[in-house]
């Protein structure tokens, strides 16, 4: 945020939760940083956090923000509002924009555009030119422009030799290669998860193994090269078990799960609702339970929104012609809490762990202590509401959790000490 955050605040009556633990305490915000309450000026505005949880701001490692190139559907402004309403103070913008983020010039352009966002925007670059999976993008140039994560959004680089080269080349640059995990030669033209429901609904399915094979491949390549791999939106019980074993053995790998994979499953597709078409597809109910356990156990590091806004014309189609994806910035936290996960696990997976993975500092750097940046959200863990895309700030019309009753909602968000959400409403 460019404006000087001159207004001071005292956040009172809440329960602070960060990497150092859980305790009832108050905090004050002066000039964009956290200070002890007795240092706040008398002009400080009191923010009531009674009954609420105060957390370091959430960090979304996986959001498609529309700009540049898809402005009729989403902009930095609308995605940024959605982010801060969902408690996110930083989002990592995916690079499959138009043009794609495959040169330093585009990084700079996106950085300029991101001034419209109410949240901080980190910028991912592509691994390959145009994210086409053919030849390497200028990774050194991207790293020099401030990129820390590179990614070809989608199923992941299919060619194992290219993936090896990317990992080798990226390693000394300090870049993490993030990618999805779907072995397309096995999943083919899949429209959903392969199983009982694909058999009934007559839709081609992607077996869980098409994800697990890719995870095993990239773990092997991480071992071979020492390069850092972050697995995007894993969705199968088998993949969670495999990644858990690999990260436990010290390999430089991490993983995320999309919030909708915690809450929904393939049986929900019985009415062919295209808003439930996402990639990877909604898996079995057992996979959804395994996703929640993997987050609780830390086998999966991060919960992401995988925010993918679309206009209605991209979804008002027969199922196999509809675009995949769901909006998620405003609901990811609620969905995670509704899935039954404890709030400490949810905040680890949505705040300080993703911050660490995208290079924003260690979990203790992000703790709610004097001197830390005042990126903060206040969450009412017992609030309930029914998700409704019509009342969301995103311009996308496609929510996988439309009509679902949610538990837990963001009440207040500060970005860089500035109050951007209060009482669940965007300020200014």
């Amino acid at each position: 945020m460019s404006a000087a955050a001159s207004q001071s605040y005292i956040v009172r009556g809440g329960t602070l939760i960060d990497a150092s633990g859980t305790r009832p305490d108050d905090l004050a915000i002066v000039d964009g940083v956290i200070v002890p309450v007795d240092e706040a000026p008398s002009s400080a505005i009191e923010i009531d956090a009674g009954g609420a949880v105060v957390s370091p701001g959430l960090v979304d490692m996986h959001a498609h923000v529309g700009e540049p190139g898809d402005e009729p559907v989403e902009t930095m402004r609308s995605a940024g509002e959605a982010a801060v309403l969902g408690g996110f103070t930083t989002v990592l913008a995916m690079p499959n924009t138009f043009p794609p983020v495959d040169t330093a010039a585009v990084v700079e352009h996106v950085r300029i555009l991101s001034a419209d966002a109410l949240c901080n925007v980190e910028i991912a670059g592509t691994v390959t030119v145009g994210a086409k999976g053919e030849r390497l993008a200028p990774l050194g140039e991207l790293a020099a422009a401030g990129v820390r994560v590179v990614c070809d959004p989608g199923p992941g680089i299919q060619n194992p030799l290219l993936m090896r080269r990317a990992l080798e080349y990226a390693k000394p640059l300090g870049l993490t290669i993030a990618q999805g995990a779907e072995y397309l030669a096995l999943s083919g033209d899949a429209q959903m998860h392969e199983g009982e429901w694909s058999s009934r609904l007559g839709l081609p399915g992607a077996p869980a193994e098409s994800e697990e094979i890719m995870v095993m491949r990239d773990i092997a390549l991480a071992r071979l090269t020492g390069g850092r791999v972050h697995f995007q939106t894993l969705s199968t019980a088998g993949a969670f078990a495999i990644i858990g074993a690999a990260s436990g053995s010290g390999l430089p790998v991490s993983a995320e799960v999309a919030s909708h994979h915690l809450a929904l499953c393939d049986a929900d597709l019985a009415g062919y609702d295209t808003n439930l078409k996402v990639t990877p597809p909604l898996r079995s109910a057992g996979d959804a339970r395994a996703a929640a356990s993997a987050v609780a156990a830390g086998r999966v590091d991060v919960i992401v929104s995988d925010h993918t806004p679309h206009s209605s014309d991209r979804k008002d189609r027969p199922f196999d012609q509809a675009e995949p994806g769901s909006v998620g910035l405003e609901t990811a936290l609620s969905v995670a809490l509704t899935s039954g996960l404890d709030i400490e696990s949810v905040l680890r997976a949505m705040s300080w762990r993703p911050a660490e993975l995208i290079g924003l500092g260690s979990p203790t750097d992000r703790a709610l202590v004097p001197g830390a940046p005042a990126d903060i959200c206040v969450i009412d863990p017992n609030a309930t509401y029914v998700a409704s895309v019509a009342s969301m700030a995103t311009n996308g019309t496609n929510s996988a959790v439309e009509g679902v009753e949610m538990r837990g909602r963001v009440r207040t968000t500060f970005v860089g000490g500035q109050l951007v959400v209060d009482q669940g409403k965007v300020m200014a």
């Binding site: 199983g195 694909s198 058999s199 839709l203 077996p207 009415g271 062919y272 189609r317 027969p318 012609q321």
Partner: protein, 319 residues
Amino acid sequence: MKHLLSIEELETEELRELLRITPSFAEVASRRIAKVPALRGQTVATLFYEDSTRTRLSFEVAAKRLSADTLNVSVSSSSVNKGESLRDTAETIEAMGIDAIVMRHKSSGAPWQLTKWVEASVINAGDGWHQHPTQALLDCFTLQQSLGDLADRHIVIVGDIKHSRVARSDVAAFTMLGATVTLVAPPTLLPPAIHTWPVQVSHDLDQALTDADAIYLLRMQNERQNEALVPDMREYTALYGLTAARASRLAASVPIMHPGPMNRGIEIAADVPDLDQVVVIDQVRNGVAVRMAVLFMLLGSGSSGLPVIPPPELAGASS
């Protein structure tokens, strides 16, 4: 009943009721003037996104015999070819005042989307690999003509189950009526979670046929060998085709069924369709009667909860 989308969404009693009223519609077809005024003033549109001769004609004849007006939307020559979405096409034809849309679409589930966009009744005339409910109705009716009550009868369905909307609809309908179903196919042509279906599975056609009360052959498409689902058609025919030798071992009372169009020489040997026990033409004939029953149930007095047997004044020949 507002729509007919799938057999699985029918109550068993609704399925039985449709089969119970079908003979009175079959009777209409046998009249010199094969037409009753049951749906006079109503309009039925057929919207076929896949080529089909028999199903479209069958619905059209059924609607005409009930005195409904019919309107064929020819997809290949319409604005669909100019990129119009299914939603816009459906809303456009509905705006012209229609009471039912009969749709065939290559995408599984497309009729479910359609019901969100239009007020008209939607009849699924085949969606992707998923459902073809009127085919299942006509198959049940044809089987009942041959076998009577289907309870505890053993029906063997052979062929490409995985990609077949006919198989999905027939399995649901046959088992709803109490029949035992055995699916015979190579493992590559079965749906992945076949163990969750209420059927037996076999890879040995000869064994399955030993106690079959009926055999139902599915159309086998050449492209399946390019997808490495079967080695080649010669092997498919040898293992899963109704060869002359296999047909000769069937009792004469065992009806041989096929949804058409047949690939003679692939799933059925060239001369087998000429056997007396082949009921493919009965299936086509019965298709008109069951589609009349469906249209009447959705649009006629049946749709308002009144008695579904056509009252005499409606059943009389028009003109």
